[in-house]
């Protein structure tokens, strides 16, 4: 199994509070991704990173920011959480320019 750890695994928060999800990898892979998974929508890309300090937006990036200061860590921040951001968030890594994704176990976020 690919060494990907997400934290926290579960979080309940209130509307308007900031939230940071962390993804940590031990595989030294270049590409890292944050997806959200919602019923009827499948997995949708929020942001991705192609190297330290190199990030770009995905299809549902509004309300989210990311940072990658080290190869192994990719942080997803919700500056002011909203109920529409209640979801399961998956981190993924990719080992080469064209290759399969390996997923973390997911972080379930509930915004009340």
């Amino acid at each position: 199994d690919a060494g990907i750890t997400q934290s926290p695994r579960h979080k309940v928060t209130e509307t308007g509070t900031p939230v940071t999800l962390r993804c940590h990898q031990t595989e030294n892979h270049r590409y890292m991704y944050w997806y959200r998974q919602d019923p009827g929508h499948g997995l949708r890309l929020i942001h991705y990173s192609y190297g330290v300090k190199d990030t770009d937006k995905g299809e549902v990036s509004d309300g989210y920011s990311v940072s990658r200061s080290k190869t192994e860590d990719f942080l997803l921040t919700l500056e002011s959480a909203t109920s529409s951001q209640t979801s399961v968030y998956f981190c993924a890594i990719s080992e080469r320019v064209t290759g399969e994704l390996f997923f973390g176990e997911g972080s379930r976020l509930t915004v009340l």
Partner: protein
């Protein structure tokens, strides 16, 4: 607009049946098609297909890609209850990015 569409949305079969799951895609700068299995947690990788007409097999699972007609199929023979899961397909495009379909939910009844 780029998209990946899977069919059927859900499927219920009996153990021993053979199933075919479909994935069609319309993606600019397509590079590869991937299949994943998701059982209540993280998706796990099954296949990556880059060339048309070349079947990939792993045990009772097999998959093939048609780049002319823009679709892929995933076959599962002699289904078992452990095959019950959501099967996701994803189209990779330029820049190592992926569009996912919404998945096919497969339930195998003993």
């Amino acid at each position: 607009e780029d998209k990946v569409v899977q069919s059927p949305l859900s499927l219920v079969v009996h153990e021993g049946d053979t199933v075919t799951l479909n994935c069609s895609y319309e993606v600019t700068n397509f590079r590869s098609l991937l299949w994943y299995k998701q059982e209540k947690k993280a998706p796990t990788f099954l296949f990556m297909l880059t060339s048309s007409g070349i079947e990939k097999k792993s045990g009772r699972l097999s998959s093939i890609l048609d780049k002319k007609e823009l679709f892929s199929i995933l076959n599962i023979t002699a289904t078992q209850t452990g095959d019950s899961a959501v099967y996701l397909c994803a189209a990779e495009y330029t820049g190592n990015q992926f569009y996912f379909g919404t998945g096919t939910s497969l339930t195998v009844i003993p």
